[in-house]
């Protein structure tokens, strides 16, 4: 009897001790560290990268590159922007950035008056340097410090050369662009035209479209009706390649057509991998991000003043579909 009681109580004590210890370790486990508070205003440099197309593969890469460089330079950088070309939101972010008195703005150039006014007047008023990246806006219109990105004119030429290589020196080429052309689109088109003009047997049909999928599809429809013998398509705005190919595919086979675009579209890489695109012009988004931060920092620290207003160009390369290779 006595032994049973002692044994029972002993067993209970062991069980309860175990449970208590388990419970205590859980309860008193040091809670995850709260972020250390910074009571003093530290003068660390704040940069903002603003884009209209957040969460697209191209701009994600730009953002990555910029963040890497920012880490290297030991400055703070945030990527802001709007989703899916929401211009109002984009401009609002620009304004917030200016009112927040950041130390530098790296921005995807937008060829509108509001944008230009923001960069020219507001940013200048607060003395904030602005660098355009990937898409340029001419310096005289935006007072940007410099441009970091591809040579869009050269890129256009590359696409044109590739087209000729594949298609030959004669045929009808359809070029799809925005109704209201941004500066970089003008540059690209100019590059394409510059090459194709040398071949009199090539007809260029240039058509602008609104930037909705329906509009792109209907424009493509019209174009195909108007020029049934066209064998090549170039989407200057890479985002239009998707709906365009979708429309072509609905009517006929996509394969025989020579379709080209640039890599800054949402679906560009996917379409190329599927073999629907014959080639895209590949840019170096990460390098753009890195270099834009680098040059901006050089300007802020006064190492290179002024920056080359012509811009710092990054590499471009033609990427062709595997399916098209012989």
């Amino acid at each position: 009897m006595r032994k049973t009681i002692v044994l029972l109580l002993g067993a209970l004590i062991i069980i309860f001790s175990y449970l208590t210890i388990v419970s205590a370790t859980k309860a008193f486990r040091s809670s995850s560290e709260l972020p250390a508070s910074l009571s003093e205003m530290e003068d660390s440099i704040r940069l903002v990268l603003i884009t209209q197309e957040l969460d697209t593969p191209f701009w994600n890469k730009v953002g990555q590159g910029a963040k890497q460089q920012a880490k290297l330079e030991n400055v703070e950088l945030e990527v802001w922007g709007s989703y899916g070309n929401n211009e109002d939101d984009f401009l609002k972010k620009m304004e917030i950035a200016i009112h927040s008195k950041v130390d530098g703005i790296i921005v995807q150039g937008l060829d509108t008056d509001e944008f230009k006014e923001l960069t020219k007047i507001k940013a200048a008023f607060y003395g904030i340097p602005v660098i355009t990246v990937a898409n340029d806006v001419p310096v005289e219109e935006s007072l940007r410090k410099t441009y970091v990105g591809s040579d869009q004119f050269g890129a256009g030429k590359m696409v044109a050369y590739e087209l000729i290589k594949e298609m030959g020196t004669s045929g009808e080429v359809i070029v799809l662009r925005d109704e209201v052309q941004a500066y970089y689109q003008k540059e690209r088109l100019a590059g394409i035209q510059d090459v194709l003009e040398n071949y009199p047997e090539i007809d260029i049909i240039i058509r602008g479209t609104e930037d909705t999928n329906e509009q792109v599809i209907s424009t493509t429809q019209q174009l195909m009706n108007d020029a049934p013998r066209a064998t090549a398509f170039i989407a200057i705005n890479a985002n239009y390649a998707g709906p365009m190919i979708q429309e072509i595919g609905r009517r006929t086979q996509v394969e025989p057509y020579h379709i080209y675009t640039f890599d800054d579209g949402v679906e560009s890489t996917t379409l190329l991998e599927q073999g629907k695109l014959d080639g895209i012009l590949e840019q170096k988004p990460e390098q753009m991000g890195q270099e834009s931060v680098k040059w901006l920092m050089e300007w802020i620290s006064g190492e290179t003043v002024p920056l080359n207003s012509g811009g710092y160009l990054t590499e471009t390369k033609m990427l062709v579909s595997d399916g098209d290779k012989p």
Partner: protein, 487 residues
């Protein structure tokens, strides 16, 4: 010595200490958690204050622009001051996670204040368009501030999300911990109380058992209590008492034995005295008469009868005098002859008496009437019932310091059982004795006289005869030691 009181104190204070420590820990921990939660809540409240202050400032600015009076001016200045104060508070909210946003936020407030000031300036200079533009911008900035407040709040929530969940989990776990600790302490307390109560009741139990043993009269077992408190002291005292009682009882027993022996010898003496008193009814008359009869017989020429009467008278006198004091063996032998004389007159030829006596032994002291009852026994059992009579022989010889007296008859003998009964005193045979003194009496008197047992032995063969052997030491003191040696 640990007293029971001290034990209780120890148990209770240890338990109180444990409880206290647990309570303190839990309270301290709770307080810390609460402080953390408070500081977080405060962050949210401060952020919210910014939004409220900026909106109030816009309203005041609007009022002032519409109606630029001194009252409104004071108001707008006051709200600008408020927002600057709030801004100071916001600076404290910066941490590694949100440094960027909060810095932007602070600058936004700066911009708001600057824009508002510009608007006031324009208004004072009557530049209506400028002031309206600036007001619109201030309004926009205020909106941005509101939005940014939400963004920062959202971010805070995200940053602190894990932390909140941990706090919730931990408080849940703390509840469980409380229950487990309660159960654990209960179990420990039960066990401790159990052991503790055992340490008190076990010695009491042992003591009770020991007391029971004593109550049943077993005084030999030692009282042992494994304890170190008052009970042990009690047990020790109890044990001492036991030993004392034991000693006393032994003493009483010894005394009782002594008393018993004394009583026995007294009884024997009384018996003899009574017997002698009985026979002293008129001893002198009887004695004188016997002497007169003897003389008369002698005068009548019956010399034989005269001798017989002298013998009877001698025997009677001896019987009256010598019962309670020692006599010499010589006197005993003399009486023996007289007695045999009488018996020979009675049985004539049927009785053959032989005596072989070492004269050198006759000086020895011996209780009176030792041989006569034995001879009488022999006559009663060996001569009387036999028609042809029998032989009785008496031998007195010396064996070292011992005097050996042998009385042998030629009767039917006694069975071995009866011999033992006789010697142990369970069979009395003094009926029909002339002196009223039986065999038992002789044995006991010898025992008391010499202080040695087994002085008398009986050898007997049925149909052949019986031999009673009495051995006595030559000197009483001298031979006492020898007795033990020779067994």
């Amino acid at each position: 010595m640990t007293t029971i009181q001290r034990k209780i104190w120890l148990l209770v204070s240890v338990m109180l200490l444990i409880m206290g420590i647990i309570w303190m820990t839990l309270t301290y921990y709770n307080q810390q958690t609460q402080e953390q939660t408070n500081s977080i809540l405060q962050r949210y409240l401060r952020l919210n204050e910014v939004t409220i202050a900026s909106q109030k400032m816009i309203t005041d600015l609007n009022n002032y622009l519409l109606d630029p009076t001194e009252i409104h001016k004071v108001q707008i200045e006051k709200s600008i001051k408020t927002i600057e104060e709030v801004q100071q508070d916001v600076v404290k909210l910066r941490n590694e996670e949100n440094a960027f946003s909060v810095t932007n936020y602070i600058h936004l407030i700066d911009s708001l204040v600057e824009t508002a000031n510009r608007s006031i300036l324009f208004s004072e200079e009557q530049e209506l368009e400028g002031s309206t533009n600036e007001f619109n911008e201030a309004n926009r900035i205020s909106m941005y501030i509101s939005e940014m407040t939400l963004t920062i709040l959202e971010r805070e929530l995200k940053t602190y999300n894990l932390f909140y969940r941990e706090i919730i989990d931990q408080s849940e776990e703390l509840k469980k911990l409380g229950i487990w600790i309660l159960l654990l302490v209960t179990a420990v307390l039960l066990l401790a109380t159990y052991w503790f109560s055992l340490s008190i009741t076990k010695p009491v139990h042992q003591l009770t058992k020991a007391a029971n043993e004593l109550a049943h009269g077993r005084f030999n077992q030692k009282i042992k209590v494994e304890s170190n408190d008052e009970i042990a002291f009690l047990a020790q005292t109890f044990d001492t008492m036991r030993i004392n009682i034991n000693d006393l009882i032994l003493e009483i027993q010894q005394k009782a034995q002594l008393e018993h022996e004394l009583q026995q010898s007294k009884l024997l003496l009384k018996e003899s005295q009574l017997k002698s008193l009985q026979s002293q009814i008129n001893p002198h008359f009887l004695f004188n008469t016997l002497n007169t009869l003897s003389k008369k017989a002698y005068l009548d020429g019956a010399e034989e009868t005269s001798d017989l009467l002298v013998s009877v008278a001698g025997l009677l006198r001896y019987n009256l005098k010598r019962i309670d004091r020692p006599v010499t063996l010589y006197e005993e032998v003399l009486v023996l002859y007289q007695y045999m004389e009488i018996q020979r007159a009675r049985f004539a030829d049927r009785l053959h008496f032989e005596a072989n006596i070492d004269e050198s032994c006759l000086h020895v002291n011996i209780p009176g009437l030792t041989l006569q009852p034995i001879i009488e026994n022999a006559v009663i059992h060996a001569i009387e019932p036999e028609e042809d009579g029998g032989t009785i022989s008496v031998r007195i010889s010396r064996d070292g310091f011992w005097i050996i007296m042998e009385i042998e008859d030629s009767g039917k003998g006694i069975s071995q059982d009866n011999i033992e009964l006789l010697l142990s005193g369970h069979l009395d045979t003094n009926v029909g004795h002339s002196t009223g003194i039986g065999f038992q009496n002789v044995v006991k008197r010898l025992q008391l006289f010499y202080g040695v047992e087994n002085l008398v032995s009986i050898e007997s063969e049925e149909g052949i005869g019986t031999k009673v052997i009495i051995q006595i030491p030559e000197t009483r003191e001298e031979v006492n030691d020898e007795t033990t040696n020779s067994g």
